[in-house]
């Protein structure tokens, strides 16, 4: 959630389908950041944050984020990140307090922790709205701010309510199993799951886009739900292709290693090498599947969105993205994090290069809208970065 690229990308207009009036006028997004500059900014700010016991971290966040936003330009004009450090600091402190209570509660009484989890789950949609409002409120382009409507009802519907529907597959499994056909039940449950999940994800994207506004216009969304079934069906295929060879490879290796080892494999206390092996094999497979879903969902998000007469075109491709993420992960791992600024910069560059705004006009026809422009607290956005809530952007 701290991915600056995503943050700056979310509020941009995106296109895929040819707009009502046929046009070839394309406005490209550009990213002008340099890894060297960003590295120096980043390391100095991390060092200052640590030395000040985290107090400075709010200022650090604002500075690093401003660098990423301002180096992303559309039509020659940079985006701007306008949040103030003090509200971020307040939100961060409150979040630490809440998280500390939560972490400690589990050691005294798990029941307490369960209550906390339920409480957070109940507040989650509210948190999502607040967090989106914060990001939109403090992102601007050419002096106009983005805006996110405070649609709490919609958030509760699409980020909490619909998950109760997910109970249907499990009920089905249970019912059919009780009637004596557990295999058939599993199949039916799986089918129900496949039917519901893409539908939920599609509507969540539609909700997010529909509630964003810029320059007196609302974003609108085509919401062709069928597209999401395509993504998830293909994702299932990609998962199979990734996991089967990985598991085969790992089992072969495990058997070979265990042969020379007289001690029987103890499932209760697997050796560290076994755990390491599982991670080493599963991480690339997981990354392979996650990248696929992420890439396709991002493309769908932008390509179905529209702002005024402008559409968007996102052309992220699977293999380049996978290569990017894989090399990023390896570089960050082998430099103990020092390659992180470089990784962020090249990700931002790739993403900006594959996003276009299409529409007749020079992007100067947006006007300040009448939406309320009060200040918004940063606690929600801090909490959601800590909890790593995946809003699906």
């Amino acid at each position: 959630m701290h991915d600056e690229t995503m943050a700056s990308g979310v509020y941009l207009p995106e296109l895929d389908v040819i707009p009502a009036r046929d046009t070839r006028e394309v406005h490209r997004l550009r990213f002008h950041g340099h890894a060297g500059d960003y590295f120096r900014i980043w390391i100095v700010n991390v060092a200052l944050s640590l030395v000040t016991l985290g107090i400075y971290s709010a200022w650090a966040t604002v500075r690093t984020r401003r660098y990423m936003y301002s180096n992303t330009t559309l039509g020659g004009s940079p985006f701007d990140y306008l949040a103030r450090p003090v509200p971020i600091l307040k939100g961060r402190l409150l979040t630490v307090l809440i998280f500390a209570i939560y972490a400690f509660a589990g050691r005294i009484a798990p029941a307490l922790q369960a209550v906390a989890v339920l409480l957070v789950a109940g507040f989650m949609p509210w948190l999502i709205v607040k967090s989106m409002m914060f990001r939109a409120r403090y992102s601007s382009w050419r002096g106009l701010r983005f805006y996110f409507s405070d649609d709490y009802a919609g958030a509760y519907k699409w980020y909490l309510g619909v998950y109760f529907l997910m109970g249907i597959p499990f009920l089905l499994i249970l019912l059919v199993a009780m009637m004596g056909h557990p295999g058939f039940g599993m199949l039916l449950g799986f089918a129900a799951f496949t039917g519901i999940y893409p539908w939920i994800k599609g509507h969540q994207q539609a909700w997010v886009v529909d509630n964003h506004h810029f320059g007196g216009k609302s974003f609108s969304f085509d919401d062709a739900i069928g597209n999401y079934y395509g993504v998830y069906v293909k994702a299932a295929g990609v998962a199979l292709v990734w996991f089967l060879p990985c598991i085969a490879l790992f089992s072969t290796a495990a058997v070979l290693i265990n042969k020379g080892n007289p001690q029987a494999f103890n499932p209760k206390m697997p050796s560290p090498y076994f755990i390491l092996g599982v991670y080493a094999v599963m991480a690339p497979a997981y990354l392979g599947v996650w990248t696929f879903v992420h890439t396709r969902m991002t493309n769908l998000l932008y390509n179905q969105a529209q702002l005024g007469q402008y559409r968007f075109r996102s052309t992220l491709a699977y293999w380049p993205m996978l290569g990017l993420y894989l090399t990023n992960a390896l570089a960050v791992l082998f430099t103990i994090g020092l390659a992180l600024p470089w990784a962020r910069i090249r990700t931002a560059r790739y993403r900006a290069e594959h996003l276009e705004v299409i529409g007749e006009g020079d992007l100067s026809d947006f006007v300040r809208d009448a939406f309320a422009h009060g200040e918004i607290g940063a606690t929600a956005t801090e909490m959601d970065s800590l909890l790593g809530i995946d809003i699906g952007l």
């Binding site: 401003r66 400690f104 050691r107 320059g215 006007v367 800590l386």
Partner: protein, 353 residues
């Protein structure tokens, strides 16, 4: 004249302008010369300097002027963003960046090595006793019936050991409300650990493995050392602290928090445990000596433990409360034993005279 781009804050229309300072006023004029604007200098809010990022000069009516990073005259806003001015100067130098790496490494070390333990100990000292008891009760409830089964020790052996325990604790100040509980446990083997709130768990296998009462007391004394110093509570607070701080850092430093957070957790945990083990050992040696038992009994107990866990020979012996059996610890026990004997010899000599 400074080239700039003017946005009026009411639309996304961009106007190329030239801006200049005219006494107490900022003025800017369209490139074609037809339009001119102005604003009082003190109402202008400039953005802070960041390498490669254009300046925005916010005007009170919501508009702003965008000026290239290198184009803003140095004397225009000398008193704004003083802190960020310094930070910006630091961010421009590669030497500072290299120093920054050293600072990050050093402060992480100090934070995890000293800062967190210190803070956790302060908190644990102020927590009500009820919290500690709740923690111990919860852990015992979680273990009972899963790892800990009802004891199969003969009743007379149990009552004998209980009596030895009570006698030992009775002669010792500073450990109120402790109790000894026996459990059978295949998974834990020969084992003992101190739960917060006063319960010391002793497994049947260990009760059978200890060669004599003195060795039994030595293990007991060690666990009482954990108890008296509230080690479990402090350990829990420390690892919670590590978890919280690591997540906060990861939130900003990397999104691979899940994996990475586990590493400091593990390092710190095993490390702290060792410090606590030494404390508990010292406590045990003192307690044994004060009741006239040779601390050498501790070595006997440890050797018995090692015999009961033949598969771990040569490795660090770990169990629920992590008791690495190292040569160091044995050496310290020998040393304590020597001191004890010397003191005893002196005392005997005095008594004899």
């Amino acid at each position: 004249m400074v080239p700039a781009i003017y946005f009026d804050g009411r639309s996304t229309h961009a106007t190329r302008v030239d801006a200049w300072r005219d006494g107490d006023t900022l003025r800017w004029r369209g490139a074609d010369g037809t339009q001119e604007w102005s604003a009082p200098w003190i109402t202008i809010e400039p953005s802070a300097r960041v390498t490669g990022v254009p300046f925005t000069l916010h005007v009170r009516d919501g508009g702003h002027l965008q000026i290239d990073h290198d184009a803003l005259p140095a004397d225009w806003f000398p008193r704004h963003h003083l802190i960020e001015r310094v930070v910006d100067r630091l961010e421009r130098r590669w030497t500072v960046a290299l120093a920054g790496i050293a600072v990050v490494v050093a402060s992480l070390f100090v934070l995890f090595e000293f800062g967190l333990p210190w803070a956790a100990d302060r908190v644990s000292a102020h927590l009500p006793r009820a919290v500690e008891q709740a923690m111990g009760k919860q852990s015992l409830d979680a273990l009972e019936g899963r790892l800990l089964m009802p004891t199969a020790l003969p009743a007379e052996r149990q009552s004998h050991l209980q009596a030895v325990f009570r006698h030992f604790v009775g002669g010792m100040p500073g450990v109120p409300g402790v109790r000894l509980a026996f459990y059978g446990s295949k998974a834990l083997g020969a084992n003992a650990f101190a739960l917060p709130g006063g319960t010391i768990v002793f497994t049947d296998a260990l009760a059978e493995a200890v060669p004599d009462d003195d060795a039994f007391i030595a293990v007991m004394a060690h666990e009482l050392g954990h108890q008296a110093n509230h080690h479990m509570l402090r350990q829990v607070l420390r690892s919670s602290g590590v978890l919280i701080v690591a997540s906060m850092l990861m939130g900003d430093v990397t999104s691979m928090g899940g994996v990475a957070a586990g590493i400091p957790m593990f390092l710190v945990d095993s490390h702290y445990s060792r410090g606590f083990e030494e404390d508990a050992d010292r406590f045990a040696f003192r307690a044994l000596a004060s009741q006239g038992i040779d601390p050498e009994a501790f070595v006997h107990a440890m050797q018995a433990l090692e015999r009961a866990h033949p598969e771990l020979k040569g490795q660090e012996l770990r169990y629920a409360s992590s008791h690495p059996l190292t040569d160091e610890r044995i050496a310290r026990a020998h040393e304590a034993s020597l001191q004890f004997r010397a003191a005893k010899a002196t005392a005997d000599a005095r008594a004899g005279r």
